[in-house]
Each structure stands twice: as C-alpha cells, then as structure tokens.
Symmetry: C2
Subunit: 201 residues, 2 copies
C-alpha cells in the first residue's frame, strides 16, 4: 500500500465514521472530538484532513450529489423522453436506497440541509433545476413542476424514513420505483426486478 | 366586546404574529422579545399568555393538527374505502394549501418538528398511524405503507415549498390532488374543481 492509498483509506474511514455519528447525534450534536475518539485518533490528526465539521459534512454528501449529477447527465443522452425519465428515476431511487442514512440525515438535519443547499448553488447548473429538466422538460408547466417536486421529496422522505430502515434494499427499491412511476405516469417494465439475465439498453 | 373575546383576539393576533416571525427567522431565530416588539406589547404581557416560545409554537400548530384529526374521523364515517380515501385526501390537501406557511415551516424547522412530534406522541392514537390507517387500512402491506408515506411527505413538501408560494390556492390544490390521486390509484371526480361545465373523462 502506498502512502497515497493509506491517506485515502483513512479519509473514507473518517467519512463513514462521521456519517454514522451524524446519524446518531445529528450534525450539531457531533463534535470533532467525538469523531476523533470514535476513530481512535487525536483531534490534531482529524484536523490534518479537514478544517471543520462543515467540511467533513460536505465531503460526506459530495459523492452522492456527484453521482446524482452523473445519473442526470446519462439520462439526457437517452433518445426518448420516456427513456430519459425511466433512467433518471431508476438512478434516483437506487441512490436513495443505497444512501439511506445520508438521505435520512438530510431529511431531518437542518445543518446538513443548509450546507448542501450552499454546495448546490455554487455549481454551474443547479442540481435541482437539472433534475426538474430531465423529469419534466426545459420549460415545464406548473402541473409537471409540482409532480416532480412531490416525486423527489416524497421518495427521498420515504426512502430515508426510520420506519422503513429494516426493509431490504431490493424490496424498498421496487416499492419506491412503483410509486415514482405512478406519479410520473410511466409504465412498469415488462420484466421487472431482479431478473439478472435481462438485457439493458 | 367582553373581556373573554378581547383575550381571544389578542391570543389569535399573537399566534399569527409568531407564525409570521417563525417563517421569516425560523423558530430558533425568533425571540420572545421580537414577538412582543412586533405586537407592540411588553414581554410581560406576552408571558401573561404563554410561558415559553415552545408553548407558542405548540399553540400555533395545534389548530391544524386538530383539524387533520377531525378530517380523518370524518373520513372513517364514509362507507366505502374509496370514499374514505377521497375524503381524507381532499381534506389533507386543502389543509396543506390553507396552512402553507405553517407547513413550509414544519418542513424546514427542526425545532417545530421536534415539538409537533412530541405533541403527536402524547395523544391516544398517533395522528400519523391514524392517517396511514385511513389511507391504507388497519394492517397495510409494505407497498401501501410506503405509498402513503410518499404521498403525505411529498404533498406536504411541495405544498409548503417556497417556489410555489406564488401559486393561487385553487390551482395548487388541484395539482396536489391530482398527484395524490395518481399515487393512490384514485380516479378523478366526474365534476372536478371549478370547471363545472367541462366534461372530463
């Protein structure tokens, strides 16, 4: 292992630990000292990687935001509107399910909400606008804009809800996809779910 | 005017003022002094009505919670499951639209969320459980429980969203109802909204 991968490894362990503590105590209730203690390092070692708790929280959320951005870019390359929507919905739901802890934290933690809002607004194209454009077109009517809001907020709130924390990934994904499809008026795929031999185009 | 109605009048003016300030500055950013100043009364006069800011916030939210409870009770008296769902959905959406400021505050203010959660849990029957029971039956499967969560959270988040603050009540209500119906698989009514002469199929 090179020095570089050791640093990366520490960094990813640090972010996983921070997310766990944020989920348990909220961002406000988690101190740099608590993160250092949980990692078994000194506070100085922690500050070597991040200047502040805010920086850690941004780094915790960044990969998911990056991935959502990429899913929307991929969706835009599809030829039909329907295929764009289906790709974006599948990716969005998959991300929610995989990142449930982070999504649940985002739903309930005002500190993290404020940070992510700030990160999003600093981008060239606001992720929220991009999401709406992929799902409802560049200049959506009010009905479609409201539908997309209900869909994105509803799926994220349900996917991150503590009451569904015990549901396995595949099951949660299938139910959230169904709800999203109904809202957006998309048909169910002919061979849904886990059939691994299916061709994906 | 009797002394009793004068007190009631002051109380309702106080609650309206508090809601306005909570909306502008958040619950945490609003002090008892700010509420007193905005009302043009002394802090002592404010404390005559409420012991704390938390008590004010509870009193601000109480009528809407009470009304939702009543809507669900009314819905339960309907004979068919469909009629129960339609009644509860119409009442829920109507309440969201009328109480947009409060709903928007609830969506974004952790202090208010904590308070309302505590209020709800102190009741005989949790309002959230009651809502799920009316929409999905007494012992819902996972798919229905998730759908109800997506519906209630999605409609509340969209209805209270700042970006739709300029939409008039009737229009917002119609779009939220449509989204709710699609999610719950309910047909549109034969004589919807305001367009009394137009046929919709």
């Amino acid at each position: 292992m090179t020095a570089g991968t050791a640093v990366n490894d520490t960094r990813s362990r640090l972010l996983a630990t921070a997310l766990k503590l944020f989920g348990e105590h909220g961002m406000e209730g988690t101190s740099m000292q608590m993160i250092a203690d949980e990692l078994g390092v000194t506070k100085a070692a922690l500050y070597y990687h991040f200047k502040s708790k805010d920086e850690i929280a941004e780094a915790v959320a960044a990969p998911a935001l990056q991935e959502m951005d990429q899913i929307l870019d991929e969706a835009r390359t599809k030829r039909s509107r329907g295929a764009q929507i289906d790709h974006a919905l599948a990716g969005f739901v998959d991300l929610i399910v995989r990142e449930r802890t982070l999504v649940g934290l985002f739903n309930s933690d005002p500190g993290l909400q404020r940070l992510i809002k700030r990160t999003l607004q600093a981008r060239d194209e606001d992720l929220k606008t991009k999401l709406r454009t992929v799902f409802a077109g560049a200049d959506p009517g009010l009905a479609d804009a409201i539908t997309v809001h209900v869909m994105s907020a509803g799926l994220a709130m349900a996917g991150g809800a503590p009451e569904f924390a015990g549901v396995d990934d595949d099951t949660l994904r299938e139910h959230l996809l169904d709800a999203g499809r109904r809202l957006l008026g998309r048909p169910r795929p002919k061979h849904p779910g886990k059939s691994r031999l299916r061709l994906r185009i």
